[in-house]
């Protein structure tokens, strides 16, 4: 690291790395909700109800952390959340099509608290797929609105 610092007038900034065991009783939830970007590799629904040790699924916990995070926070999942509800754009589209006709646009904006987009990760992207001929996977990005 000294070698790195010598090459710059100011020390190179490398972030703090903190690992938490979720069995620990002492960690503060606010540490998790303070994150700007939340990532969960829940590919193929592995954070769903089948996971042992917990009453609520891990997906629920992830969404709970995201819901408590600051505005502008991004949540990145490898499996689409089925319980998060409709994205802002979807609600507005529903309004335009008359599906949500009882809502005004302002109400529709309040009805959804996040934006949503997808991105495709082309292979090689995950350790369980072959480098050659592996399939692309989808990445689901939720952004918390103001």
């Amino acid at each position: 690291m000294q070698q790195l610092n010598d090459m710059f007038d100011e020390p190179i900034s490398i972030g703090d790395i903190k690992h938490v065991n979720s069995d620990a009783k002492s960690y503060d939830l606010s540490v998790l909700t303070s994150a700007d970007v939340i990532f969960a590799n829940n590919f193929n629904g592995v954070y769903g109800n089948g996971v042992e040790k917990i009453s609520r699924s891990l997906d629920d916990h992830v969404l709970s952390i995201f819901a408590q995070s600051k505005a502008g926070a991004r949540l990145v999942l490898l499996d689409k959340s089925s319980s998060i509800g409709h994205a802002h754009k979807e609600v507005l589209e529903g309004l335009d099509k008359g599906i949500s006709s009882k809502l005004t646009k302002t109400q529709a904006a309040d009805a959804s608290w996040f934006d949503y987009e997808e991105m495709t990760l082309h292979q090689p992207n995950v350790s369980w797929m072959k480098e050659e001929g592996g399939k692309s996977i989808q990445c689901y990005i939720y952004t918390k609105r103001d």
């Binding site: 690291m1 972030g15 703090d16 790395i17 690992h19 938490v20 065991n21 620990a24 002492s26 952390i65």
Partner: protein, 285 residues
């Protein structure tokens, strides 16, 4: 007169028939020649493909020999404890298969005087199943535009070397204190044993280049905090992004073995580990 006329007509007809027959014959000949050419072309192609396949096979064998040589020189015994699988995480560990793989690799790493041809074949078969060790420098170099990051190339290379050191430093305690590769860690029983029952957690790692693409897509900045829920061994997410982006990273993991694998040696018995690789010491809380 009429006979002469008939005769003339017959001659014309015969000539026409002959012409038709000649055209047909020519067409048949052309077709045969075409077929012959196509067959020869196909034969040539097959030969070329066969030669290419033979060349590929030769190269693959050379690579396997190199791999075995490198394993002996650089990794040694710890590698033998790790089964490497190209299947999905759901496949789990097959102990019998692993034992066979280990025996084969041991045989290949033993002095050549003791190695039988059977052992060699087994070893070659086993090494074919083996995934190449993760080469961080190469992977990250491919997906980061050095100019955009604003680093000089030499600085960038130094940073990558530091990342590798940090990873080794963080993961080195797992296999009886011996330093091992990222691949070795993630394929070891310690990390993958959570996969055994269908009701337990699965292990599979997103690769560094994919994580960097995600970081770019969500515009992760150095003054932001990144949280990985279920960080596993932490290499591709928390460690990588702390070094490359420079942001603070937090990982949370419910599998105790994976948590310990991702944490520095000094944090073995702690539930929460925190470290800043740029500082001289490692702290745990």
């Amino acid at each position: 007169m009429s006979m002469s006329s008939d005769s003339g007509s017959d001659v014309r007809n015969n000539r026409e028939l002959w012409n038709v027959a000649r055209i047909k014959e020519k067409s048949r000949n052309d077709h045969k020649a075409e077929q012959l050419r196509a067959e020869k072309e196909m034969e040539r192609n097959i030969k070329e493909v066969a030669m290419a396949m033979a060349e590929d096979e030769r190269k693959r064998n050379e690579e396997i020999q190199n791999l075995l040589g490198n394993a002996r020189d650089e990794i040694g015994a710890p590698l033998l404890e790790n089964k490497v699988s190209e299947t999905t995480p759901e496949a789990g560990d097959d102990e019998e298969d692993e034992k066979q793989l280990n025996r084969a690799l041991e045989a290949s790493l033993a002095p050549s005087a003791n190695a039988t041809s059977d052992n060699l074949e087994l070893a070659l078969e086993a090494s074919k199943k083996q995934i190449q060790p993760v080469n961080f420098s190469e992977i990250i170099e491919k997906c980061i535009d050095v100019k955009k990051v604003g680093w000089s190339l030499s600085l960038y290379k130094t940073a990558l070397a530091e990342i590798e050191n940090a990873i080794q430093d963080q993961l080195g305690h797992v296999e009886n204190g011996n330093s091992t590769t990222v691949l070795g860690i993630e394929s070891s029983k310690v990390v993958r044993k959570g996969n055994r029952a269908s009701t337990q957690t699965m292990y599979g790692r997103i690769k560094p280049e994919a994580m960097l693409k995600i970081a770019k897509k969500v515009n992760l900045k150095s003054n932001e905090t990144f949280l990985d829920i279920g960080h596993g061994i932490g290499v591709s997410s928390t460690v990588l992004l702390a070094f490359i982006i420079g942001c603070n990273t937090i990982g949370i993991e419910m599998e105790a073995d994976r948590f310990r694998s991702a944490s520095p040696k000094t944090c073995n018995s702690s539930m929460i580990c925190s470290t800043n690789p740029s500082r001289s010491g490692t702290s745990s809380t």
